[in-house]
Amino acid sequence: MKNYSILLAALLLYPAISQQSFAAGDAKKGANVFAEECGDCHSVTPGKNKKGPGLFGVIGRNAASVPDFSGYSDGIKQSGITWSMDKLDAYITQPRKIVPGGKMKYDGLDDAGARSDVIAYLSSLK
């Protein structure tokens, strides 16, 4: 019984723990990661799109939902993704694995720490 309780508690707490791991990322470092890895194609200025959609307020947003961005692939439109921190982390790691047929020309970011930082940065933008 005790073991089940622990398992149940772990399952209930997992999302919070997981989100905290991104929140533990360094947003200041994440701004640099964003400039190095993302900033050519994405903007964090509210309402600003580049070749890729704007990323201001991306956490919690449904994929392919920026209203005035028309460059979405069919793959991302049909993905049904909501950009939780976990999902964003998986996507940044291997974009083509998470969204086959996507347009984003990015091979992925292997460094888990850098991903955590950039997600913390995106989360910090209010």
Binding site: N32, E36, C41, S43, K50, G71
Partner: protein, 459 residues
């Protein structure tokens, strides 16, 4: 996205045999340069990207990896919005002072022997996406120095990006009028530092033929960029007819015998924070200098190696280094054999260029460069050289300020301007520390040291 420049050798006078331009331009100094700077903010409007995404320092022509890929993709990337007009305009104005007044015979017509201000270029561009896979970079220029309009640069591309063996690769075709215009790196003739130079500058010595053909030829190039790492290009060129050149106000270098062949391979590695490239390039052509005396041609064979390093980081502190070395083997069947205007049947030119730049906040820039050109001793060909050699060496220093061009800049992406100062110092000119100027008087190489202040705007 903005500006670009070429540093063509200085034309040596309207009546000079144009086919000698690559080897003898330094003989007659202070001629008028071919078109130089290019600027195309219409690409920024098309993509939604700021100029600094594609260009080091927020102003062309030094390309970032993003800018390289945009070019190789055929100028077709877009932010998905319709209604973008693929037109841009550009203006380059400058003031130039040389250490000592130039000889009367060497001065630019209608200008003084020193301290000249000029609207050097006013250009219009048709530059942008035409269809999903076709894009253009076409420039028409009015030269305020020559007081002529010309069709300057033409690069019309078809490109497709696809998966090949699981790797993303781009394949493309280019119809263009200049062999090095198509290159995505900033080491070859068309796109190498200095990105703007004064028409009143003495130039950088003789250049290989591959750098001396802009506007005079038409070529079709096939290229590929495999797995974002291997770049390969092959182009075939022919000279335009004399009547066509006359219509577009381009220079007549003579007529090719057969086709000229341009090739290029490079390895590129993009680590995002920094990147590097190493490459090889070559060009060969047989040129019949006089269209009224066809049959015997001068043969040119160019071979070069180049490399680039860029540290981009978070774009606050950017460093770049560009280097190239080219050697040209000439067989002057016509010049030596028919005209006896050279001492040697076979000559060569060796050209080395190096430039390093630093940009702070994509706004404040400093660049230092070295030019070093050497070649065979030929007292007839290089008749103004006291040693008979074309050796021209020196350095360039430039400081510039680019206030806009960033994502949230005032007036973006319409307002683009760069203000700068450039200094050219000569240690040797046409063979040594002294040479004969156009009036036949000895002139020191450092008498040609040049200070230029420039204003470069694009819309």
């Amino acid at each position: 996205m903005s500006v670009f420049t070429a540093n063509f050798p200085k034309p040596c006078g309207r009546y000079w045999l144009q086919f000698f331009r690559n080897i003898a331009c330094a003989v007659s100094l202070f001629g008028i340069s071919a078109s130089v700077a290019l600027a195309v903010p219409s690409y920024a409007r098309q993509t939604g990207a700021d100029c600094a995404s594609c260009h080091i320092g927020g102003f062309g022509p030094q390309l970032t990896p993003y800018g390289m890929k945009f070019k190789l993709g055929g100028y077709t990337d877009t932010d998905g919005k319709d209604g973008k007009i693929p037109l841009s305009a550009m203006l380059v104005a400058n003031w130039t002072q040389t250490a000592k007044n130039v000889a009367e015979a060497d001065k630019v017509p209608r200008y003084d022997t020193n301290n000249n201000a000029a609207v050097q270029e006013a250009s219009l561009f048709l530059a942008g996406r035409m269809t999903e896979n076709i894009g253009t970079f076409i420039q028409a220029t009015y030269s305020g120095v020559e007081r002529l309009s010309s069709l300057d640069q033409v690069d019309i591309r078809y490109a497709r990006t696809m998966e090949l063996f699981g790797q993303e690769s781009t394949f493309g075709l280019s119809l263009n009028n200049n062999p090095t215009l198509t290159d995505p790196f900033n080491t070859l003739g068309q796109w190498r530092f200095p990105y703007t130079s004064s028409d009143f500058n003495a130039g950088y010595g003789p250049s290989p033929l591959v750098e001396s053909l802009g506007g005079s030829v038409i070529g079709v190039n096939a290229y590929t960029f495999l797995n974002n790492g291997i770049y390969a290009e092959l182009g075939l060129y022919d000279t335009l007819s004399a009547s066509t050149l006359n219509k577009i106000n381009a220079e007549d270098i003579g007529q090719f015998k057969g086709l000229g062949t341009y090739w290029r391979v490079a390895y590129f590695k993009d680590m995002k924070r920094d990147n590097f490239q190493v490459g090889l390039f070559g060009f060969n052509a047989r040129v019949q200098p006089d269209r009224n005396d066809l049959g015997t041609a001068n043969n040119y064979f160019d071979l070069g190696v180049d490399g680039t390093y860029q540290f981009l980081g978070n774009r606050e502190h950017i460093f770049t280094l560009n280097a190239s070395y080219a050697k040209e083997w000439q067989k002057l069947n016509y010049t030596y054999g028919n005209l006896a205007e050279a001492d040697n049947l076979k000559n060569n030119i060796n050209q080395f260029r190096l430039a390093g730049s630093y940009y702070y906040n994509q706004t404040w820039g400093a660049t230092a460069g070295i030019f070093d050109t050497r070649g065979s001793t030929d007292r007839t060909l290089y008749s103004n050289s006291l040693s008979g050699r074309p050796t021209t060496t020196g350095y360039l220093l430039q400081a510039d300020w680019t206030p806009w061009g960033k994502e949230n800049s005032w007036g973006a992406p319409y307002a683009n301007v760069r203000l700068g100062a450039q200094y050219t110092g000569y240690s040797r000119f046409m063979g040594g520390s002294s040479y004969l100027d156009g009036d036949g008087n000895q002139r020191r190489a450092n008498d040609n040291n040049t200070t230029m202040l420039f204003l470069w705007m694009s819309l």
